[in-house]
Amino acid sequence: MIHSSSPVAIIIFLAFISVVLGISFYLGAKAKSSKGYFTAGGTIHWAVNGIAFAGDYLSAASFLGICGMIAFFGYDGFLYSIGYLAGWIVALFIIAEPLKRLGRYTFADALDNKFNSRSIKLTAAISTLVVSIFYLIPQMVGAGALVQPLLGFPHYVGVIIVGLVVITIVVTAGMVSTTWVQFIKGSLLVCLCFVITIMILNRGISTEPKKSDGTPVKIFKHDLSSAEVIPLPGDAQRELIPPSEGWVDKPYVRILDKTSGEVSVWRKEEGDKYFETQTMVAYKDGRKMANGKPHGKGEGQGDLSPVGYAYALPGGVKETGPLGPLSFIQTMQSSNVILWGSDKIMEQDGTATTVYYQRPSPGSDFMTPGSSPTFKKVRSKKLTDKLDFLSLMLALFCGTASLPHILIRYYTVKDQISARKSTVVGIAAIGFFYVLTLFLGLGAMTSGTMDVSDSNMAAPLLARSFNELLFSIISAVAFTTVLGTVSGLIMAASGAVAHDIMSNYLKIDMDDFQKVRSAKFASIAVGLLAIILGILFAKMNVNFLVGWAFNIAASSNLPALVMLLFWSKTTKEGISSAILVGMLSSLSWILLSAQAYKDVYGIDPAMAIVPFSQPAIVTIPLGFLVLIVVSLFTQKKPQTI
């Protein structure tokens, strides 16, 4: 869909960027020492740090990805909310206080506290870099998705803007400014989402929603008989196009309008019922046709239509009116909603047609696990089919406490009690937000403004269904959220390079100026890499990408952290090996998975080597096993007197 920008949106967006940069320049000037730069001098108040946790953690994946997934598929997106929040329990009960006790600036400091081992420093730093980069990709993709409708720029321009702004923030400032930026946007994001939730409940659910300007949303034709759709031979106006190439054996019929030359596509469902579809045809020469017309907003051009409405409400009413939070969910459980699926059809001349088709779905289906392509195998009878789901839920549970940019935030408070209190505040803010995601996602599902081609846009477009101002504000807040998360990640990555690798592992003797310069160069390099990857992965759901980052973090870092704290026989060799094996095995698994085959390489997912896409259920236990075995083989022999 082509989204139009507005002057209000541009003004609000620029105002937010200016405030963020202003804070960075003002506070960054105060971070004079390494302690100030990397950990804000350990002087952040626990309550501020707790909300900053929320600002850091509630990233593009949480806001854009989860809302988009719920809006497109229902309850399955909420599984991420549950898993992301559950991960904080590991952070609070197992990791927070020992990490604060053992560490100094980086995650590697804590792991290396007991051993002073160069191999631990190196492997922990590499793991930090890999996890940070994997986590950076979805943030950059999300930023591009936001800038597209907000400013009217292409996706890649959005990615470049966020990359350059973040590099500026990190190069000019440190953890003090990052913390305050995260605190402000974390507060704003949670409050704004609460306001939007109230507006969703107040509006209720409708089978004929209206846009913010009062015009009705297009209702697509459905349940038509073949007589109403398929023209008879000799029809002067319309002609049935016989199936050929990629269209053979597909449940579609194509009708040519002889007057306009436009082709409409209908999907045939059970009971010989026909449903109207939307199409986007991409020709090899770069031309595009949307719904039978040249793609564009001008005269004689066409675009995909916004979607999202209930198909049938309980009691046969057309709209519910205002609802309470419980009755809203009850109503969704008992309603039928038109969700949308997509199908790609290739032809020999390279023409690719994406068909977006209606999926009338009962609430009893989409409000339970397994309604999305990601989790559909959970409804299979085969045990191996369920492993993907179990593996992802395990990764989300174990991954939070292994994310480097979250771990370094424990060093910004003064003591262990503050670390504990700030985690509790973080859990409260993040938990509240995740409850809201269900309402936001379901609200977007029935808002009449969804873009069938981009699930990441569901939340901002939901705001647009109320008014343009709200859309502008929520998009700008979401954009600054991306900035804060990306800043935190680049901080973690630059700390790993400058502190762990250059200073501690390579023991390069640098004066202060050189140390500062190397930290800045590391930030610039990671930022540029993030820009490139953000452009390459533009079409992937940001939530799925974050799932990968959690898998790698949990597999490489958690076994080492937990065993260091709770098993006295852990050795430095065991820790290094566990990090290395966990990281390489999870990364290899992901790159050989069906999801990577389909979305990254564009080849048949059935050819994938590994049986399921989420590796955690194999690679986390593998990390523990490697650590135990290697540690047992490398125990120091008792000294004889």
């Binding site: 004079k32 929040l85 559950a86 590991v90 009960f93 206080e97 459980q333 339970t368 509790v424 859990i427």
Partner: protein, 95 residues
């Protein structure tokens, strides 16, 4: 950002080993409670997905009710942990 002194000393927090051990034990106990609840959710969703559609509480189905329960339980356990933990350096009083 004038100097990046990686070697600067950070004042070490005073620790009472008994308090640390007590707090760790409380944390581990609450962690086990949450893991049990989370594992129950994973097991139900994986092996009895058809049960997740049944209405349980206030007209909400089991999947939504259990999801909200896990989020609220995390906060409740976190608050309990904060209340039960003892503070290092004040004679083991609760924080």
């Amino acid at each position: 950002m004038g100097s990046l002194d990686f070697k600067s000393e950070i004042p070490k927090e005073h620790e009472d080993e008994l308090v640390v051990k007590y707090n760790s034990r409380i944390g581990a106990f609450l962690f086990v409670i949450y893991v049990a609840a989370y594992a129950g959710f994973m097991a139900l969703s994986s092996f009895f997905p058809e049960r997740m559609g049944g209405e349980i509480l206030f007209g909400l189905n089991l999947s939504v009710s259990y999801g909200f329960f896990l989020i609220v339980l995390a906060l409740v356990l976190a608050v309990i942990y904060m209340k039960l933990c003892k503070k290092t350096g004040n004679g083991g009083q609760q924080s």
